[in-house]
């Protein structure tokens, strides 16, 4: 191989090799921001989704109703705000907004914050849909045993809802893995920004972006397999073992 690559393919290899540390760092940051942002966002989404699904009872005392209505209002506002604006704009506003307000936030933390807020808003709706997908009888069965509505939610409804929304959670995760690229606008040195840097020296942007396209593809493939595994593990099995020790008691 000569020192100067002669075609695009060679340029891709050349850049990948020469700037491997940049790409590695980019991959790490992309993973860090998307994984932590998404997981925290899932938790936030569950909380918001549950609050939004909670029915306001006319019989409850006014204080309890007031608090619940207040939280529901906040949740609705939050969901509409973050679903209704582009993530790239949210990144700018959160990062520069916090800085102007005097919080010395670094780009990575800001990136995680934006990712988690964005994910939470979408996840809230997904969780709500998941809860709605569970037959009302499941809840009634639990209440009839004397379980509290909260206990019924956490022990009976949510575990089943979770199972139903795993595919949608996978979707969101992969979306986030790629959406972190917009965080280059606030200076998070994730894959996209690194590719821009790497491509700049030799003015070989296309080749540089081909490198990260491949990295994104591999990352997404790995994570989609992980979620497929979770889906498989949580699925109800078709077979079961008869407890033969109790067989003599069958009718």
């Amino acid at each position: 191989m000569t020192n100067t690559p002669t075609n695009s393919f060679e340029w891709v290899l050349f850049i990948a090799k020469k700037y491997s540390d940049l790409f590695l760092r980019g991959t790490w940051l992309t993973m860090l921001v998307s994984v932590s942002g998404t997981l925290l966002g899932f938790i936030l989404g569950y909380a918001v989704g549950i609050v939004q699904d909670t029915a306001v009872n006319k019989e409850d005392n006014p204080v309890k109703r007031g608090i619940l209505l207040f939280f529901k209002g906040i949740c609705t506002l939050y969901v509409e705000l973050f679903r209704g604006t582009p993530m790239i704009v949210q990144a700018m506003i959160v990062f520069y907004g916090l800085r102007q307000a005097g919080f010395e936030i670094d780009p990575i933390s800001a990136g995680i914050l934006v990712t988690l807020l964005n994910t939470g808003a979408y996840m809230a709706e997904t969780v709500r849909a998941g809860i709605k997908s569970i037959d009302a009888g499941q809840r009634e069965g639990a209440l009839a045993l004397g379980m509290s509505p909260i206990s019924a939610m956490f022990h009976i409804i949510l575990p089943q809802a979770f199972k139903n929304i795993v595919p949608e959670m996978a979707n969101m995760f992969l979306t986030n893995l790629k959406m972190t690229s917009v965080l280059n606008v606030i200076g998070v040195q994730e894959l996209f920004l690194q590719a821009k840097t790497a491509g700049g020296t030799y003015y070989k942007y296309l080749e540089s972006y081909l490198v990260i396209a491949l990295i994104y593809l591999v990352l997404c493939f790995v994570f989609s397999r992980v979620f497929a595994l979770i889906e498989k593990k949580t699925a109800v099995r078709k077979d079961y073992v008869l407890a033969v020790e109790y067989m003599e008691n069958t009718q």
Binding site: G137, M147, H155, A243, Y246
Partner: protein, 246 residues
């Protein structure tokens, strides 16, 4: 006269403009096996759901051992743990095995230790002939099996009253027999039961009281011998004539 467990006074329920229950008055005594009959839409299920507080009544009161049932969630939870319910659509927890289904209530509500909850579950599952299926999930069972597990789940709480909301209506004729046999066994053990059903033979042979409902009223409250041989209300006569003809 035996001890009164539940008393319902002037109970009414409406969904919007539609009035489903009007002025329901009756009481359930210890050891009673009450069958609630009536055509679809007469308010039978709604009445049962009100008694369990799955529906909140629009007016009227429910008394449990003489004291009025309040509106506090905690009070209702505790009351429900003593007044069990078996549903037409079983409502077994789909994410849990048969065994876990029967241990969930005793562990989470009655706070029994695991060992005791397990023993109680096995004992009641044996009683309904479902003990060998402890490792199965509800989706792996037939309707009749599910309903028997649901009854065992209810029994694990050792309720004072067990409410049945059309327990056999979703089952094929063969399975109906299995479930009714289990219920007959419970009747022999003096469990207090309130049963909404369309199984006339069961009502006649097993119950000690029949409530006949029409348009949201209890129009007849009589022992089965009297109800089936000499009904008083015209609607009850009409209802029974179809049963006898069929």
């Amino acid at each position: 006269m035996s001890e009164e467990i539940i008393r319902v006074e002037e109970l009414g329920k409406s969904f919007g403009e539609h009035q489903v229950l009007r002025k329901i008055d009756f009481s359930v005594n210890k050891g009673d096996i009450i069958c609630i009959l009536g055509s679809s839409g007469s308010g039978k299920s709604t009445m049962l759901r009100c008694i369990n507080q799955l529906e909140t009544q629009s007016c009227g009161k429910i008394f449990f051992h003489g004291s009025e049932l309040g509106k506090k969630q905690k009070e209702i939870n505790e009351y429900r743990s003593k007044v069990g319910m078996v549903f037409q659509s079983f409502n077994l927890f789909n994410n849990m095995t048969v065994l876990k289904n029967c241990m969930e209530g005793t562990q989470k509500v009655l706070h029994l230790p695991k060992k005791e909850a397990f023993e109680r579950a096995i004992e009641n599952l044996k009683a309904v002939g479902m003990a060998p299926f402890i490792n199965a999930y509800p989706s792996q069972l037939s309707g009749g099996q599910k309903q028997r597990v649901a009854i065992a789940r209810g029994l694990c709480m050792q309720p004072e009253v067990l409410l049945f909301d059309e327990p056999t209506s979703a089952l094929d004729p063969e399975m109906v027999g299995d479930v009714l046999n289990v219920m007959k066994e419970l009747a022999k053990k003096d469990l207090t039961m309130l049963i909404v059903t369309h199984e006339m033979d069961f009502a006649r042979d097993v119950s000690n009281r029949v409530l006949f409902m029409d348009k949201g009223y209890i129009v007849e409250d009589a022992p089965p011998q009297k109800f089936f041989s000499a009904p008083e209300h015209p609607r009850a006569k009409e209802f029974l004539s179809r049963f006898i003809a069929g």
